[in-house]
Symmetry: C2
Subunit: 125 residues, 2 copies
Amino acid sequence: MPDNLASKITDSELEVMKLLWRAKDALPVTVIREQLQESKGWEPATIKTLIARLVSKGAVRQEKRNVFYYSPVITEKEYSSWATKDLIARIYNGKARDLIASLVSSDGLSQDDIAELRDMFKVEE
Amino acid sequence: MPDNLASKITDSELEVMKLLWRAKDALPVTVIREQLQESKGWEPATIKTLIARLVSKGAVRQEKRNVFYYSPVITEKEYSSWATKDLIARIYNGKARDLIASLVSSDGLSQDDIAELRDMFKVEE
DNA sequence: CATTGCAGACTACAATTGTCAACTGAAATT
DNA sequence: AATTTCAGTTGACAATTGTAGTCTGCAATG
């Protein structure tokens, strides 16, 4: 995990992180609750547990106002880049190109994707 | 998970799978045990548990000879391709190209990788 | 100001995961 | 044939994860 993290962000917790990443500013539980109750059908208690766990593992910071406001400590980029490298280490023996080869050969990429990637690598120095 | 799987292969179990994937033929516990005891420092009991769990979740098949011989049901390619798509779904909103963009922009690729990928996409129809 | 609603803290509980020990019966060894 | 060695099975136990209930005190609202 990103080394600022005590331990891994779990799947459920990740849903909370996604919401916080999308938000421009820190959010109070009220807002987080509303959205996740709606989108995930979770009970308020569940949502509060997830937030508390994220705070305790250092992925989310709380800021005292009238009520706590929560915001991500690690960025989405940091996390996704870590998760990707972790996958590469665990499954592709550390070889990033093997990951991409796998995508290409297992039709994980659309024609559009491939076109775009061709461009990407053309420009790339 | 690959839909032939009852549930996800865990990290420890994956070590067993890797060994089985590397092997040409089915292996008896003796051989699996020797290697993992060596490479992972696991107790025989641990290794036997992992094998049993893999069998019960359908990732490994056992073949009765004098003693059981074990071989993978899902291939390494199937698994890694599934794991990759799963990552893309969970973290990159289903967009494979975002994964690759993340790799490129977070220096997850060496110059060599990039060169090779440029070739890959040049040839690619 | 009394009432209500909910944030925050604590507790709970089943399922999964990482590790491993004990037992049992068959195969190998003496 | 008696002994030893494991494979295979079952059980175990702590930590993590998914999901949620309860309680307490403050803040908004009538």
